[in-house]
């Protein structure tokens, strides 16, 4: 005959709760909640975006490359993973920053007038033919929003050069040809328990 163990609250000899169950049969273990993925929200932008951005300024959020998550606890962290395919018509640049509800997060420390960026690429030194580009178009960032409100994370491009157009998920010359690709950019938010 099979044995059945029934409990709502499992405690140690000191009366400290070790595990509890809820009406749905879920078991929660005390002290083991940190680092759990509580929810995952992801957006894949499979179409294109392009835009003319004012010199030395950020664009608005790239349309369709946003993700909204509502943390279940103010102590939760939010892990953002973003992969961006972008280029610019001039200067070999494509820099960007992560924003949460329009405010920059996951960017570099302030350093005078230098733009505070999350990721991107640009020539390390335009006067040197041998200097390698500064580049990395992906990013992940562990945010601590301290909020249980809806949080929208997005991507904003930064324009170094006064002229030119940004291209997302497409090339500048997008003529119909097997030699010109189209890409996908993604942004994912994961709520991580504290």
């Amino acid at each position: 005959m099979a044995s059945i163990l029934r409990f709502d609250n499992w405690q140690n000899s000191d009366g400290t709760s070790i595990a509890t169950t809820d009406a749905s049969g879920n078991i929660s273990f005390a002290g083991s909640g940190a680092g759990k993925i509580l929810q995952v929200v992801s957006t894949a932008k499979t179409d294109t975006w392009s835009g003319s951005v004012t010199a030395e300024a950020f664009s608005s959020n790239i349309t369709g490359l946003e993700v909204t998550i509502t943390p279940t606890s103010a102590t939760s962290k939010v892990l953002i993973i973003c992969l961006l395919h972008a280029s610019h018509g001039n200067y070999g640049q494509a820099n960007w920053r992560l924003v949460r509800n329009g405010t920059a997060v996951g960017v570099a420390d302030a350093a005078s007038s230098r733009p505070q960026l999350t990721s991107g690429l640009q020539p390390s030194d335009v006067t040197s033919a041998t200097a390698t580009p500064q580049m990395n178009m992906g990013a992940h960032y562990l945010d601590s929003p301290a909020s249980t409100s809806a949080l929208t994370y997005g991507v904003q491009l930064y324009n170094v050069n006064p002229t030119g157009t940004f291209y997302v998920n497409r090339t500048q010359n997008d003529g119909d040809s097997t030699s010109r690709g189209r890409w996908v950019s993604t942004i994912t938010a994961m709520e991580v328990s504290a």
Partner: protein, 89 residues
């Protein structure tokens, strides 16, 4: 398919805009100047397309001219490619 991004880049330099997707419906005009109509952009497409093709042809011709001049100086194709990256495609 009309490349509205190419038209806006070529004919509206200095204007601020964004285009989500490939169609006119995705155009957001951010400048104070009037937003161009779809008809205006459609009408501009043949000239922009031709200018793009002309630019590609001119670049290819310049590249070939450089190769020819370097070859006339006695450089082999491999030497030209190694030194200048020309002739590889």
């Amino acid at each position: 398919m009309i490349d509205y991004t190419a038209i806006l880049t070529a004919n509206y330099e200095g204007s601020a805009w964004s285009l989500n997707g490939d169609t006119y419906d995705g155009l957001t005009w951010l400048s104070d100047t009037p937003k161009p109509t779809q008809q205006e952009l459609d009408d501009a497409w043949p000239a922009v397309q031709q200018a793009r093709q002309d630019a590609i042809a001119a670049e290819a011709a310049a590249k070939q001219s450089a190769i020819d001049k370097l070859a006339a100086l006695g450089l082999s194709v491999d030497e030209i490619r190694a030194a200048f990256g020309l002739g590889g495609d």
